[in-house]
Every structure is written in structure tokens, then in C-alpha cells.
């Protein structure tokens, strides 16, 4: 069989396109359609189109609180990841070749370990009988254990740990493009270290910060394992709620509606950010 020359790219991309359609697009469409049918008592799905599921999400404070918590947490995790990841990436990029290789393994190493295992590790650290509390108690800094398991704070700490490498990688990529001579130039013009970092280095890596922020935000908002283990049954977020609706209450349509809203919000935020990056920085960087 002879391919026309210009048809080759389509053939080459065909396997991945089929995969995407079968395993991403199709489930999304099924989820979307599932969300517009009513829930029947006993776990069945009705046969007429309705917006009842969405109406329930909007009218019930229970779900609004969960959405608020989920995105509040995602935003907080993103901000903390920026605060930790940007300096970390900058320091990494300034290390000598050998130390950099070692440090990158340390930074990215956790990503080689299952999220569940890492999160269980945090559970060991954060528990009332956990390592952190024992040390603080022994040091006499606190009189009774600080509650960290099953709290918002605990989930944020564990999520930041899981997601910071993504921020480091994104900022790192931006730093690779930065001409180190611009720092020397600023210095020669009289700028001190802090001014160089805040006025010269940071503005040049903003595209990396924004794209890293997008990844961290999307992953934090849709994280399941960490909130499920550290947050527990009470501190619900949208992904754990979806899980409960599907497998606990067997209310598939409501779970589907939750999933659709979650995907929609993450998509809107991502696309809005992308638009912002393109408009603001096209002239400068791209």
C-alpha cells in the first residue's frame, strides 16, 4: 500500500488519536450524558432528560461547601508550590553540574513512588501519635498533639509535597531560556541581589510559573488519593465526593454531574490562564 506523502502525519498520529477518542473522549461523553438523566431509587438511571442533578448541586449548600473547599485548597496548594518551587528551581539552576544532577534526583525522586505510598508516609508523620507530634512533644514545644491528620492543613501539606516537582520542572524549563548575562547586566547597572531576583529573574520566568501553576492547580483540584487518606471521610473534596456518589450512594447521575462541573471549572480556569499568558507575554517571549 502506498501512502501519499502528505497523508503520513495522519497515519502516524492515528494510534494516539484512536486511544484518546476511546479512552478519554468517549468516557467524557458518557459521563456528560449520564449527568442529564434522573437518579432512580435503588441505583437505577431514569430515561428522560433532566437538569435535576445540576439543580441539586447548585441549591444544596453541602455541595457548594465541597466545591469551595476543593478550589480553595487547589489555589492554596498552587500558591505554596510557587513559593517553594520557584526558589528551588532557581537554586537548582545555579548549582554546579554535579550537584545539580544529584539535586534533580532528590527533587524528582518522589515522583517515582506511588502517590498512595507517599501519602501514607505523610499519614505516619502527621498523625497524633506521628513523628512530628512526638518530636514536638519531646522538645516541650507543645503540651498536647497538634491535630494534623484529617485537617485541611494536613491535606495541603501532603498535596504540596506531591505537586511541587511539577512547579520546579516548569520553572526550570523557563530558567533554561534565561540569559545569565541579564543578571550581570542588572548588577552592573547598580541592582542589588534582591532587585536582580525580583525585577530581572522572576519576571522572565513568569511564563514557567503560570504553566507550572496550571498543572499544579488542575492536579490539586482533581487529586483523589491524598485527600482520601489524609482528609479522611469527613473532609470531603469533589473527587472523593464523586467516588462516594458512584460507589457509596450508587447515585451515578449525581456523581457524573459533579464530575462534569469539576472538569468544566478546571477547563475554564486553564483556558483563561492560557489566554492571559498569550496576550500578556506574546510580545515579550514567545
Amino acid at each position: 500500500m502506498i501512502f501519499k506523502r502528505n497523508a503520513l502525519p495522519y497515519w502516524l498520529s492515528a494510534p494516539s488519536v484512536v486511544m484518546m477518542l476511546a479512552f478519554v473522549a468517549l468516557p467524557l461523553v458518557i459521563t456528560l450524558s449520564l449527568s442529564i438523566y434522573p437518579f432512580m431509587a435503588g441505583g437505577g438511571v431514569g430515561d428522560h432528560v433532566t437538569i435535576a442533578n445540576y439543580a441539586e448541586l447548585v441549591s444544596d449548600d453541602y455541595y457548594l461547601v465541597i466545591f469551595g473547599r476543593t478550589f480553595g485548597m487547589a489555589i492554596l496548594v498552587t500558591l505554596i508550590s510557587i513559593l517553594i518551587g520557584v526558589p528551588e528551581a532557581y537554586v537548582l539552576s545555579r548549582l554546579s553540574e554535579r550537584w545539580r544532577a544529584i539535586s534533580i534526583v532528590i527533587v524528582l525522586g518522589p515522583m517515582l513512588i506511588s502517590v498512595v505510598v507517599r501519602t501514607l508516609g505523610w499519614a505516619v508523620l502527621l498523625g497524633n501519635e506521628g513523628v512530628i507530634n512526638k518530636v514536638l512533644l519531646a522538645a516541650g514545644l507543645i503540651n498536647e498533639p497538634v491535630k494534623m491528620m484529617f485537617t485541611f492543613t494536613g491535606v495541603v501539606i501532603a498535596l504540596v509535597h506531591v505537586l511541587v516537582p511539577f512547579m520546579v520542572l516548569a520553572v526550570w524549563a523557563s530558567l533554561q531560556k534565561l540569559d545569565a548575562a541579564t543578571e550581570q547586566a542588572a548588577e552592573s547597572l547598580g541592582a542589588g541581589l534582591w532587585t536582580v531576583l525580583s525585577r530581572i529573574v522572576f519576571p522572565q520566568v513568569i511564563p514557567g510559573v503560570l504553566s507550572g501553576g496550571l498543572i499544579v492547580f488542575a492536579l490539586a483540584a482533581s487529586a483523589f488519593a491524598t485527600p482520601a487518606i489524609i482528609g479522611g471521610r469527613r473532609l470531603k473534596v469533589v473527587p472523593t465526593t464523586i467516588y462516594d456518589e458512584f460507589l457509596g450512594n450508587l447515585n451515578w447521575p449525581l456523581g457524573a454531574a459533579l464530575a462534569v462541573v469539576l472538569v468544566a471549572i478546571v477547563l475554564i480556569v486553564s483556558m483563561g490562564m492560557n489566554r492571559l499568558i498569550e496576550r500578556r507575554y506574546k510580545q515579550v517571549f514567545l
Binding site: Q184, A186, G190, T195, Q204, Q283
Partner: protein, 350 residues
């Protein structure tokens, strides 16, 4: 009275010596070029003056004040980097204003000086553009404007023409020279391009292997190179080892007797004659005979390679429009005693 002075400046990296005992004094308003092949230490020297490299030993004095241990941000020198190092996230005007902002110049005064500095480099219309929207030549001028805007005592240029194409480079060289004369700022430029050094500099500092080989005005250095390295790095030269100096004004090279006017040289010597000083001759003045092995046309002049008993020689003749000798021709060569130089011999592989 020297304005900028380097005293015994050295830089060692582990056991590699990048710059060894460099002494240089630059007068106020002077344009000095550090010239040399890559790895000769010229850039390291500039980095030490700028403050980005700490000297292993030696001192740097600016207007009598020791600045050896002063941070780059406190030296106030204007630096143009090889990559220009413009701030990509700032407009041209903001780039130029940055240094003045650091100096605490008031906003009104600042924008006035930004405008006048941009006029100086003919970029008045470009103030609102971002660096990536400019051409290479324009970027270089922004870098120059940014460095000059802080009214530095000394301007340092690190291979500023390196990224420009040949034609633009020539234009920018002439413009830079005019600008330096107008502003009158003391300037040190690093380059590996001998033509650029000769075009721009009041004085050329020729460096090799971390040491200064020769320091002179371009014409003087060209006419009176102090060794094989100087003669071949700045321009072209035919260099021969002298076997024996005869009494008076004659030396022997490979059995051929050649004339010289440098009569008081002693020791191991080399004999240098520039290609353009050599003429064809067929009379009694012929010093050496040979056969033309190659002829190259270079527009304004011809380059000949002639195989002689002395070895292969190069000579150039201005293109006068007259017919020229052809490859394979037997020719006689001559030159004047006062055009030949005798210099102390150095190792061949420098």
C-alpha cells in the same frame, strides 16, 4: 595621568593561569582594545575590571581609587555584553531607564535622559518596542544606550560586534567610534577581530596566553611588531628565522642574504616583512627569486603565494587594473631594508 590602572592583575583557575601579571594603564577618554585569540585572557581581564571575576592577585585602580574588592553593582561601569543581555520583559525605554532608576534619578529627569540617550544611538522611535522586536544592530545600540545612560566613568565592551553580520559590523564600528568621540567616555573593548581593533582603538593591547604581548597604537603595532605573534595576529606577515647576522645591515636566512635597517639587534632573531611591502622586480634589486604557486583575486587587491628558497611567501598587490603575473610564472621579489623588521625569536607554535 592614567585613569584606569591594572597593576599586576592575575587570575588563576586551579592550576590554569588565565591572566598573568597584567599591567595596563588607560588614560581618560582613551579607547583601548584588548585583542587576542580565544583563551588569551582578554575576556577574563574585562570580567575582572567589571567585577564579575575576582582577581587572584593584583589591583584595579579607577581614578586613583582601589576598586579591586568593590561589588560590580557599586562600580558604576557601563557594560555591553556579547549577547547584549537586554531585559526581554522590558521595553527599550525601560531597559535604558533601569540603571538610572537604581541610581535614584528622579522620574522626570530619567525620562528626559532616556530620550536623549536613545537619540544618541538613533533609536528615538523604538522606545516602546520590546527587545525581541528589534534587529541585531538595534539591540546592540540599545545595549550601548543602556550602558551609557548611567554616565559611567568607563565603558566596557565584550565582543559587541560578534553577533552582527560583516556589513553591519563595519557600519556599527564607525558609528561606535564616532559615538565614543562625542561622549568622550573611557572605553575598553574586547575583540578577537584584528580589523575591528585597528578600526576602533586608540591603542591596541595584544594578548596571548594570559600575557600582554604588545601595547601600541594600531599603526605603530602594525609597522613595528615586537615578535612573530604580533606580526601574524595583527595583519599578515612573512616571518623567517635568521641563521646569522652579518656585520652591519645584512642577515642570512637559509643561505640568502637579506637587508635590514634594524642594525642593533642581537641574539636569536626573526626576520619579518609584510606582504604589501614586497614588489615584483627583474633587475639588480631582486632579493630572492621564486615561482608563483597560487594567485587569489580579492577585489581591491591580489594575493600571491610564491615558493622561494626562503620558503613559501605571501605578497599582495593593489588592484590597479593592470595585467598581473599568473600562476606558474618565475618572478623576482624585492623590498626595502626599512620595511623589514628584526625581532627576537619566539617559539614557532605560539
Amino acid at each position: 595621568m592614567s585613569f584606569l590602572e591594572l597593576k599586576g592583575l592575575s587570575k588563576r583557575y586551579d592550576d590554569v593561569v588565565a591572566v598573568a601579571e597584567c599591567d595596563l594603564s588607560v588614560a581618560r577618554g582613551e579607547f583601548v582594545c584588548l585583542l587576542g585569540p580565544s583563551g588569551c585572557g582578554k575576556t577574563t581581564t574585562l570580567q575582572m575590571v567589571a567585577g564579575f571575576a575576582q582577581p587572584s592577585s593584583g589591583k584595579i585602580l579607577l581614578d586613583g581609587v582601589d576598586i579591586t574588592n568593590v561589588k560590580p553593582s557599586k562600580r558604576g561601569l557601563g557594560i555591553v555584553f556579547q549577547s547584549y543581555a537586554l531585559f526581554p520583559h522590558m521595553t527599550v525605554a525601560d531597559n535604558v531607564a533601569f540603571g538610572m532608576e537604581m541610581q535614584g534619578v528622579a522620574a522626570g529627569e530619567r525620562s528626559k535622559r532616556v530620550a536623549s540617550t536613545l537619540e544618541l544611538v538613533h533609536l528615538g522611535q523604538m522606545a516602546k518596542r520590546y527587545p525581541r522586536e528589534l534587529s541585531g544592530g538595534q539591540r546592540q545600540r540599545v545595549a550601548l544606550a543602556r550602558a551609557l545612560a548611567i554616565q559611567p566613568p568607563v565603558l566596557l565592551l565584550d565582543e559587541p560586534m560578534g553577533a552582527l553580520d560583516a556589513k553591519l559590523r563595519e557600519e556599527m564600528q564607525i558609528e561606535l567610534r564616532a559615538l565614543q568621540h562625542r561622549v568622550g567616555v573611557t572605553t575598553i573593548m574586547v575583540t578577537h577581530d584584528q580589523a575591528e581593533a585597528m578600526t576602533l582603538a586608540d591603542r591596541v593591547v595584544l594578548m596571548n596566553k594570559g600575557c600582554i604581548e604588545q601595547m601600541d597604537r594600531p599603526y605603530d603595532m602594525y609597522e613595528h611588531p615586537n615578535g612573530r605573534f604580533s606580526s601574524t595576529f595583527l595583519g599578515k606577515a612573512n616571518v623567517f628565522e635568521v641563521e646569522r647576522a652579518q656585520a652591519g645591515d645584512r642577515v642570512d636566512v637559509k643561505g640568502v642574504t637579506l637587508p635590514t635597517s634594524d642594525v642593533d639587534c642581537v641574539g636569536a632573531l626573526e626576520y619579518i616583512v609584510r606582504p604589501e611591502k614586497i614588489a615584483f622586480a627583474d633587475d639588480a634589486n631582486v632579493l630572492v627569486k621564486g615561482r608563483i604557486s597560487a594567485r587569489v583575486f580579492l577585489g581591491n587587491h591580489w594575493l600571491f603565494q610564491v615558493d622561494t628558497p626562503l620558503g613559501r611567501m605571501q605578497l599582495t598587490h593593489a588592484n590597479t587594473g593592470l595585467p598581473q603575473a599568473a600562476e606558474g610564472d618565475q618572478v623576482g621579489l624585492r623590498w626595502l631594508a626599512e620595511h623589514a623588521r628584526l625581532v627576537p625569536r619566539t617559539k614557532v607554535n605560539t
